[in-house]
Symmetry: C4
Subunit: 230 residues, 4 copies
């Protein structure tokens, strides 16, 4: 079987969001890409996480043709492919309907940066897309969902803001690897829940001042980072 | 023992809502029907889920006569029977008092479709019934609860909206099998929790536009569905 | 060791509230009484639940004298004794600081009956006491907490409303046995959480009409009950 | 390896906040001090809790020089050191981003004492600091975070209020030992969640009257305490 290591990484990212309580039954999907061959490994469509094997992961090329796999790829596959094509450094993508993040997506509200937990991972608010038009839905719903996300990132660095809320739908998260993308999905859910509580305590809560936002983000990211073991 | 397979399916649906945290102690009940014989298998009344066996499941006919079983059927059995008689394609029914869904029922509020998680399972809001009158309570409370639900579904396809909130009480969910009904009960709880959060973020949140609602529902249901493995 | 069966029941009630997530560390306490001898078995003060043994349970008489036990009884013991003296049918008492019920106690708000889950267990709202005066605090805080509860039950049947919220503090629950009291504590926490959500959906939510409240309560309690296995 | 007992205590405090669900991945950190030698043991920076060993714990002196350890100490180490220098009785410090407590920190709101659960552990509200200025951030962010906390404690006894919310960030908690600090972190999270719910039930909820606040605090603390086994 081809791309065994990639399959294992993608399986593991899928299982991580299950273990962390971010997905129910067949909700959500994780994928990863091998940039040298342009092969994407992705969760099969509508298959439960429990009992999933690396051999169930479907391999597709960047145009969406199945390269290897007995199962059909996730119905959201065209969204993943659109993102892999647009964000050339992205190595893994995770989509969930996790409770708090999905609530913000349903409210069509970006998540403001209310604190350092957010600033440790995201520079600026977690953006929310527009709603798709009828025309976009009719001419490739999942493909246009990808385009919508890319439009929302005009002028943004996808690694400074490694997640997005698709309006009326749910989050997509990414990273250099499938494991990074799953990590972002877990942290996003926590940040979304804390932001929700923050508004409940003070509906007029102010975003974190930019000086603290910058400090925390650049403590962990970029050339002057000093968090972690280097 | 008769209808062993049906008993096992009904036991499993009861255990699924326990495992997913939707029921406490003896709360709730799941049932299933064998349409060829008209036999309904249902949880016994007031018996804890822990330690329940397939042999504890009670068999009744569609008039509610016990056909086999040492225990009394769930006190909500007449509601289940009413639904089986009215919705001829339904094969399983699950009733829980799960936290978020019950909160909407207590507020006597339908759950608006705020996003695609909802639209993947329900076409339109999850409806709420009226409150029973004194006369209805006096002449067969559980039986009239079933009638109330059927009244709330005038003009609705029960498979397009496979759940209802009984006002002041809690949800009933259904499907082609007991497992499907339990699956709907789990998803409904999640949708209810996300909808509650959505309102907390924006009390004026708008329902999902119909074009997106239709897209998601028909992506998973009906002749043009393409979600899953066929 | 005396009253081994009672000790085991009290230990088990203490462990049940731990398993159900109602207590942290040394929070809360459960007790039981042997009415024939007037002996009360109660959790020791400030001892963690993990690793607790039946032999750690302290035996006291109804005046609070330790009859057997190397440890000091719960500091809330005088409250338990006051309730055992006043409510002669009560066989077990459980006190927790469970999250949602304590929130209502802190808001000094009774829990309205918003639905049938509540009505299945409590006839009427779960009452809240007054706040203790300085004089009452100075002349036996825990003892006067018991008196406060009894005052709140003037005209109420303690088995129709087997729990109370002590204002600014937390709930006390009771039943015919320690197991019943623990069961009530678990259900009260669920009801309190659902009531909180109900208000979040509709701040003007109305209590359940009395006709439905009565129907559900008397379906499970009293001579015409038909819920359960008799 | 030096200070093996201290390392074990610090490891255990780190694991306790993981077990209790207060930290995700590498979030948070716990430390302890040996006052006789002035050696502080602290979690390494950016290392996951799962699989952490006592040998991973880093030893530093009170000026922050690494005394023993292959890994870099937590990036928050200067904050811990500032607190150990200012609060001479403190033996352990725990920092988390636990959900409810962080929500209060993000709202830049102290946690009012709404009930006895709070009063059992904290005399008065849990204070919130100011926000750091640009100058403070530039001249040693983590060091100035410590100074900020100390400023917020002018006139307060750190053992009467063993936690603080750093505005826009998250809580720091302390105690006589690392285990005590972890215990406070767990209880603070519970208190923060209950306070949040209390406001949801009644946005005008009043703090607990001082007479009850004092009674509960001094029932557990100081020369007249009578809670626990002495």
């Amino acid at each position: 079987m081809k791309h065994q290591a990639l399959r294992e990484q993608v399986l593991e990212a899928n299982l991580e969001v299950l273990r962390r309580g971010l997905v129910l039954y067949t909700f959500g999907n994780a994928s990863g890409i091998d940039r040298s061959s342009g092969i994407v490994a992705i969760k099969p469509s509508g298959v439960p996480y429990e009992g999933m094997q690396a051999s169930d992961i479907v391999l597709v090329d960047l145009e969406g043709n199945v390269v290897e796999g007995a199962l059909r790829p996730s119905s959201d596959c065209p969204t993943h492919l659109e993102l892999y094509r647009a964000f050339s450094q992205v190595g893994g993508i995770v989509h969930t309907h996790s409770r708090a993040a999905t609530s913000w997506a349903q409210a069509c509200c970006e998540i403001p940066c209310f604190g350092t937990t957010h600033a440790d991972y995201f520079h600026g608010p977690v953006p929310v897309t527009d709603l798709l038009t009828q025309e976009e839905i009719d001419s490739g719903y999942e493909h246009h969902t990808g385009k919508l996300i890319i439009r929302a990132f005009a002028g943004l660095d996808p690694f400074h803001t490694p997640a997005v809320l698709v309006a009326g739908h749910a989050p997509f998260c990414w990273g250099k690897t499938p494991a990074d993308a799953a990590h972002i999905a877990v942290v996003l859910e926590e940040i979304a829940a804390i932001a929700l509580n923050t508004l409940a305590i003070d509906p007029q809560a102010e975003p974190l001042p930019l000086r603290l936002h910058d400090k925390h983000f650049y403590r962990k990211h970029g050339p002057r980072a000093y968090y972690g073991q280097k």
